[in-house]
Symmetry: C2
Subunit: 210 residues, 2 copies
Amino acid sequence: MREFSQDFQSELSALMKWRRDVRHFKTDTVPQDLIQECLDVFQDAPSVGLSEPWRIVQLKTDASRQKALENFQSANADALADYDGEKANLYASLKLSGMKDAPVQLAIFCEEDTPKGGGLGAQTMPEMRRYSVVAAIMTFWLKARAHGLGLGWVSILDPDQLRADLDVPNNWTLVAYLCMGYPQQETLTPELETVGWEARDPELTKVIER
Amino acid sequence: MREFSQDFQSELSALMKWRRDVRHFKTDTVPQDLIQECLDVFQDAPSVGLSEPWRIVQLKTDASRQKALENFQSANADALADYDGEKANLYASLKLSGMKDAPVQLAIFCEEDTPKGGGLGAQTMPEMRRYSVVAAIMTFWLKARAHGLGLGWVSILDPDQLRADLDVPNNWTLVAYLCMGYPQQETLTPELETVGWEARDPELTKVIER
């Protein structure tokens, strides 16, 4: 039985607290070796039936990043139109992506019908393949933060448009658009809490008994 | 900037590798305080718009566990019927859940239309709420393993049936059924790899450039 020390456990708790969704990045380059080292923990993530359905696209050209940025800007304008009054003003003031600055940008897809894993565990809940990709992303996020890197998950995007713009197969579903780089500043408080959009509610982690 | 030492990073890598999906549990009781301490890391997980859509149900009665077990057994019989020949024999030999033994059993739901978070980040990708729940589960899984606890994620279930059996609201979607307890044995190799069902492919973590 591999045991983990009390010291490690308290550092792990700190890592989980310091892992924040980052929207403000320094423009410093991140070495590709370090990006790959962090991505390699996808191999340690659970996946349904060992299907490993993750497909990792890194946007390296100005053209591909520009299309992704325009996709976000369009979806964000549509989202803003859904809010009124104070809430609209607050929404408009939020920085919801670091896509203009983040040196590393990744689009993570799920190959929906991968033959890998032989369909095990995905008959009644085919969404498990996408969940496997999320579990891998979360593992990656913690690993990246341990190296001092920040991640921001952008979901205000038209996923079909992004898939088309990046010219990836139709059976790949966008799970996440990730901005990555060294954070401009760090805090234990989510930015949405600081600006008064929403607060955390610790009551929600209490168990409901059945 | 909170930094993490090289020693911590290598222990974190070990934790990620030793985090396995566990199907064989000891029947030893897990103190409820420890379960709750692990669940509390849901508060540190990212959630879209700070919506915190997780709803955590712990199955404590024999009646609720029996219904969940029957749900699994029925879905698993249906799944087996999809395989032929060798693959069917191999499938039938797999231990796909620890539901008969695991001392702790949790059903984790997503409240699809929670007002919390004001819909931020979920207009074009409403599945982000479910992904937030998965990210929290993954954080919990690592925390639990640091305490020597194993988790097994069961997805061979009819999610609507489970929701009905547990008498939870209709707008809660099942994300995961988790078995938890002290593992009978530990290994770095996924059981599906040991028995020859599927193998890991490190090539899948290489980036595709665009």
